[in-house]
C-alpha cells in the first residue's frame, strides 16, 4: 500500500501565472507527458467501453472456453469464453470510478474537517486532531474488512469505506495549511472588511489550499484503486457479475497454472494506471510546489 510521503506546504501563490508556470514545468518532463498520455488513453478507452469494447463483458461462450490471445480476442478469453479485453475495459470503469469517488469522499470529509479544525484553532483544533491521531492508531483496514464481511459489500459501502480510510491525511494537510494561512495578511484584511467565516473560507482559504488538495488527490486515486483491488482479491470488493481489475486479477490468479494470460493482462492494466498516476502525481507536486522551483 502506498504510504503518503510528507508533503511540503506551498506558499500562497502569487498570481495567475502560477498555473501557466506549473503547466510549463510539468510538461517539460517527457516522461510525465507520456504517463499523462497513457493515463488519458486508458481512462478514455474505459469510459468509452460501451462503444469501443468488441464484445459485451458478460457474453458467455462456453464452447470456446479459455483461449490465449488471438486476433479475434486481443487478450484472450476467460474460462467462460468471455472476451478479456472487453472485461478489462469494463473492469477499468469500475476500478477508476471507485478510485475517483473514494478520493472525492476522502477529499470532502478531509478538507471540511481539516479546515474547520484549522480555522477554529485552540481547544477545538486540539480535540479534533487528537481524534484524528486516535483513528490513525486503529487498524483501520481491518475494521473495513470486518464491516464488509458482516454487512455484505455493496459498491456503495465500498466507496464510503475506502474514502473514510483515506481522509485522515487530507485533514491533517488542510488543517496545517489553514492554520498558517489564517494569519496571512490578505486573510486578515478580508476579515477586517467584514467577510464572514464561510465566505472567508470558500473565497480566500480554499483556493489557496487547492494546490495541495489536487496533488494529494492525484496521489490518493491510485491508493484507493489499489485498496479496492486488494479487497477484491480477498473476495470483499466488487461482487460479480460486476468486475473490477481487482476481481479480474483474483479470478485470473485462481487459474494461472492453466491460463496465465488471465492474470497477466488485468495486472498489466492496473500496473500501468498506478504507474501513471504516481508519476503524474509526482509531476504535479513538482509543478505546483514552488518551493522546488529552484532546481
Amino acid at each position: 500500500m502506498a504510504t503518503v510521503q510528507n508533503l511540503t506546504i506551498p506558499e500562497p501563490p502569487s498570481g495567475a501565472s502560477v498555473w501557466a508556470l506549473a503547466r510549463r514545468r510539468m510538461f517539460s518532463s517527457r516522461m510525465t507527458v507520456v504517463c499523462t498520455a497513457i493515463l488519458g488513453i486508458i481512462v478514455l478507452v474505459c469510459v468509452l467501453a460501451p462503444w469501443i469494447a468488441p464484445y459485451s463483458y458478460q457474453q458467455i461462450d462456453l464452447k470456446l472456453g479459455a483461449t490465449p490471445p488471438s486476433r479475434a480476442h486481443w487478450m484472450g478469453t476467460d474460462t467462460l469464453g468471455r472476451d478479456l479485453f472487453s472485461r478489462c475495459l469494463y473492469g477499468g470503469q469500475i476500478s477508476i470510478a471507485v478510485g475517483i469517488v473514494g478520493t472525492l469522499v476522502s477529499l470532502i470529509v478531509g478538507v471540511l474537517y481539516g479546515a474547520i479544525a484549522g480555522y477554529a484553532g485552540g481547544r477545538t483544533d486540539e480535540l479534533m486532531m487528537r481524534f484524528v491521531d486516535f483513528l490513525y492508531s486503529l487498524p483501520f483496514l481491518f475494521l473495513v474488512i470486518i464491516l464488509l464481511v458482516f454487512f455484505s459489500s455493496s459498491i456503495l459501502m465500498l466507496f464510503v469505506a475506502l474514502g473514510l480510510v483515506q481522509w485522515l491525511t487530507m485533514a491533517r494537510i488542510v488543517r496545517g495549511q489553514v492554520l498558517s494561512l489564517k494569519n496571512a495578511e490578505f486573510v486578515q484584511a478580508a476579515r477586517l472588511a467584514g467577510t464572514r467565516a464561510p465566505g472567508l473560507f470558500f473565497r480566500h482559504l480554499l483556493p489557496n489550499v487547492l494546490n495541495s488538495v489536487i496533488v494529494y488527490g492525484t496521489l490518493t486515486v491510485p491508493t484507493v484503486i489499489l485498496q479496492e483491488a486488494f479487497l477484491s482479491f480477498l473476495g470483499l470488493g466488487v461482487q460479480p457479475p460486476r468486475s473490477s481489475w481487482g476481481t479480474l486479477i483474483s479470478d485470473g490468479a485462481n487459474v494461472m497454472g492453466l491460463f496465465p494470460w488471465l492474470v497477466f493482462f488485468p495486472s498489466l492494466m492496473l500496473a500501468a494506471v498506478l504507474f501513471s498516476f504516481n508519476f503524474v502525481g509526482d509531476g504535479l507536486r513538482d509543478a505546483l510546489d514552488p518551493r522546488l522551483n529552484v532546481q
Partner: protein
C-alpha cells in the same frame, strides 16, 4: 528517454515470458506437472480447510473425518468400494431377529496407542459422551435410535445408565434400539460419532485432549504434529492390531483451503492427492480427457433448489411442476459445468445398486408452459418476480444464471438472482426467508434414506415448509421394514410423492473429481468420495506397470 525505452523493453520481455509459459501448458503430457514420488515413504495430500475438530465425537466435516479415520477405528470400518461394513475393533457381530439388539464381539488385541486395551466400556463411554448434552455434539442425532438416547440428549432423562448400551465383560458390547433401523450398521461404520475415544485422556486434559502429545487413539496412525492451518503429520501406529496392513510410514495432511494454491502444489509435485473439491473447477474442465491424474466418480450427493412452498405462487403445485419441467438438466451438466456430474430430476443420488428412483419431472418445455397456464399465468403473464438465492460463489452463480435463462425462454418469466454470504444465506433458508434457494446434500450414510429422511416434516433440514403426511408415513414405515426389497419399494413410493409434489428442483448428482499422482496405489473407486488411507502405497516402479489396474 531512457526510462521509457526500459519500460517498453521490460513490458516486452514479460509478454514474451507469458507467451512462453502459456505454450508450456499446451505441451502434451499424460500427467499434470511433476510425477516424481517423494523420496521417503510418506504420503502427502491436501485435506482442504483446517478441520474444526480432531475429536470424532464432535466433528462433522469431511476434512475432520479424514483425520479421524486415521487416528481412530470404530467397531466396524466401511469398505469404500463395496459399501459394506467390515470388521474393525469388533471381530464379528449379531443382530437379534426383531432387529432391536446388536451384539458386538470385540477383538482381544485391539489397543490404544498408549498400550491399554480397547474394551466394551470404551464404547459405552464414547457413545454416552456424544449424547451427553454437556458435550453439545452437533452429531448426536445419529445415535437417537438407541433406547433413551434422545431423552438423555434433550435433558429429559438424567441417568446415562438407562441408555441402551451395555458392556458384558471386556469384549462384548450390546446395543439396544428403540425401533429397528435397517441401516444401523452403515451408520455405525461410517459416522465419526460412533468412534471410540480414550476416557482417561479426556478426563485428564478436557477440551485439549486432542493436542499432539496428549492425544491417544486406536487407529492405524498416530498424531505426531498438528500446526493449525498448515498440516497434520501422522506416523504408523506400532500398536495397531493390524499394523502389517499399513504400508505408509508417514502421512502429511496439509490444510490448504485456497484451491489454486492446492492445484499449484500438486503441479509442483508437493502433493500426491488432492481430494474432490480441493482445486478449482476450471482445472477439472481443463483436465478432463487431457490428464490421467483426474479421476471422476459419481458421488452420493445431489444438487437441487428448494422452494419456499409457504409463499405464493410457489404454494401452487402446478407452478412448482412447471418450473421443474422447464429445466434442461443435461445442458447444465454437459455444456455448462462439464465436470462429469449426472443430470437427474430425482432427489436420491444415482449410484445405488439396489435402489432405482422414480422418473421425476423430466425436461418438457411444452408441458411446463401448459402447467403454468393452468396455474393462471398463461405465457408467464402476471407471474410475480421471484428471487433465487445462493451463497456467493462463481459456480452457483453460473447455474442460477442458466436456470434464469431457461425459465425466461421456456416460461417467459423473469426471476432475479440474489447472492448473499454463507451465514446470512443459511439463516434465510432456515427461517424460510426466501423464494428459491440453492441446496446440496451429501449422504451421511450409503442408503437412499439418507436423502429421503430430509423432507419429513420434523426434519430440521427440511427448509421448504413442505409437509406431507403420506410421505412422512412411508418414510417412517420404510425405516422399520426388515425386508430389504420391500423397504426400497416404500422409499421409492415416498420419493414419487416428493417428486410429484415438487417442493424441490433436483438438478444433478455430483461427480467427485480428485487428482491422484500415478505412483499412488490403492485408491479404490468409491461413490462416497472416501479412500482407505491406511491401505495406500507408493509404487516406485509405476512407469513399468503403466496400464495395469491401480
Amino acid at each position: 528517454m531512457r526510462n521509457r525505452e526500459l519500460f517498453v523493453r521490460v513490458a516486452l520481455a514479460l509478454v514474451v515470458a507469458v507467451a512462453g509459459l502459456s505454450s508450456g501448458c499446451e505441451r502434451h503430457s499424460e500427467y499434470f506437472g511433476r510425477v516424481e514420488p517423494p523420496k521417503e515413504n510418506v504420503f502427502r495430500f491436501n485435506n482442504g480447510a483446517e478441520p474444526q475438530y480432531v475429536d470424532p465425537g464432535l466433528m462433522s466435516g469431511q476434512p475432520d473425518g479424514r483425520i479421524a479415520q486415521m487416528l481412530f477405528e470404530g467397531l466396524m470400518v466401511m469398505d469404500w468400494k463395496t459399501l459394506q461394513p467390515m470388521p474393525g475393533v469388533a471381530e464379528r457381530w449379531e443382530v437379534s431377529a426383531d432387529g432391536l439388539t446388536y451384539t458386538f464381539h470385540l477383538r482381544g488385541n485391539a489397543m490404544w496407542s498408549d498400550g491399554t486395551p480397547v474394551t466394551a466400556n470404551d464404547f459405552v463411554y464414547s457413545w454416552t459422551r456424544v449424547l451427553d448434552p454437556k458435550t453439545a455434539s452437533v452429531y448426536a442425532a445419529p445415535l437417537f435410535p438407541i433406547v433413551n438416547a434422545e431423552e438423555f440428549n434433550q435433558r429429559k432423562l438424567d441417568d446415562p445408565s438407562r441408555l441402551g448400551l451395555r458392556a458384558i465383560g471386556d469384549h462384548t458390547f450390546e446395543v439396544r434400539l428403540r425401533r429397528p433401523v435397517p441401516y444401523f450398521l452403515f451408520l455405525a461404520s461410517f459416522m465419526y460419532c460412533f468412534m471410540p475415544v480414550p476416557q482417561a485422556v479426556i478426563e485428564k486434559y478436557g477440551m485439549h485432549w486432542t493436542d499432539p502429545g496428549n492425544i491417544v487413539g486406536n487407529g492405524p496412525f498416530v498424531l505426531v504434529e498438528h500446526r493449525i492451518n498448515s498440516k497434520f503429520e501422522l506416523a504408523r501406529n506400532p500398536r495397531y492390531w493390524d499394523k502389517q496392513r499399513v504400508r505408509l510410514e508417514r502421512v502429511i495432511a496439509y490444510s490448504i483451503d485456497d484451491h489454486s494454491t492446492s492445484a499449484n502444489m500438486y503441479k509442483a509435485g508437493a502433493l500426491d492427492w488432492v481430494p474432490s473439491g480441493g482445486f478449482p473447477d476450471d482445472y477439472v474442465r481443463y483436465m478432463r480427457g487431457r490428464f490421467r491424474d483426474l479421476r471422476t466418480m459419481p458421488f452420493l450427493a445431489t444438487y437441487f433448489y428448494s422452494m419456499n412452498v409457504t409463499r405464493p405462487p410457489l404454494n401452487n403445485k402446478l407452478v412448482r411442476q412447471a418450473l421443474a419441467m422447464a429445466i434442461d438438466r443435461r445442458a447444465i451438466t454437459d455444456d455448462l459445468l462439464r465436470k462429469g456430474d449426472i443430470p437427474g430430476a430425482q432427489l436420491v443420488a444415482a449410484g445405488f445398486s439396489d435402489y432405482h428412483s422414480p422418473p421425476g419431472l423430466e425436461y418438457n418445455p411444452q408441458k411446463a408452459a401448459e402447467l403454468l397456464a393452468k396455474a393462471g399465468y398463461p405465457n408467464g403473464q402476471g407471474f410475480p418476480s421471484l428471487e433465487m438465492s445462493f451463497n456467493t460463489s462463481e459456480g452457483h452463480r453460473k447455474i442460477a444464471e442458466a436456470l434464469q435463462q431457461m425459465w425466461a425462454k421456456n416460461l417467459n418469466i423473469r426471476l432475479t438472482l440474489h447472492n448473499v454470504d454463507w451465514p446470512t444465506f443459511l439463516r434465510n433458508r432456515r427461517t424460510l426467508n426466501y423464494d428459491l434457494a440453492r441446496e446440496g446434500w451429501i449422504a451421511d450414510y450409503p442408503d437412499p434414506n439418507a436423502f429421503l429422511e430430509l423432507f419429513q416434516s420434523i426434519n430440521p433440514n427440511n427448509d421448504t415448509g413442505w409437509k406431507n403426511s403420506a410421505y412422512d408415513r412411508l418414510i417412517t414405515q420404510a425405516s422399520e421394514e426388515q425386508d430389504p426389497a420391500m423397504r426400497m419399494e416404500l422409499l421409492r413410493r415416498g420419493e414419487a410423492i416428493l417428486l410429484d409434489d415438487a417442493p424441490i428442483l433436483p438438478i444433478y448428482t455430483y461427480a467427485s473429481n480428485s487428482l491422484i499422482k500415478p505412483y499412488m496405489k490403492g485408491f479404490t473407486p468409491s461413490v462416497l468420495d472416501a479412500y482407505p488411507i491406511d491401505r495406500l502405497w507408493i509404487d516406485r516402479e509405476w512407469r513399468e506397470r503403466e496400464g495395469d489396474e491401480p
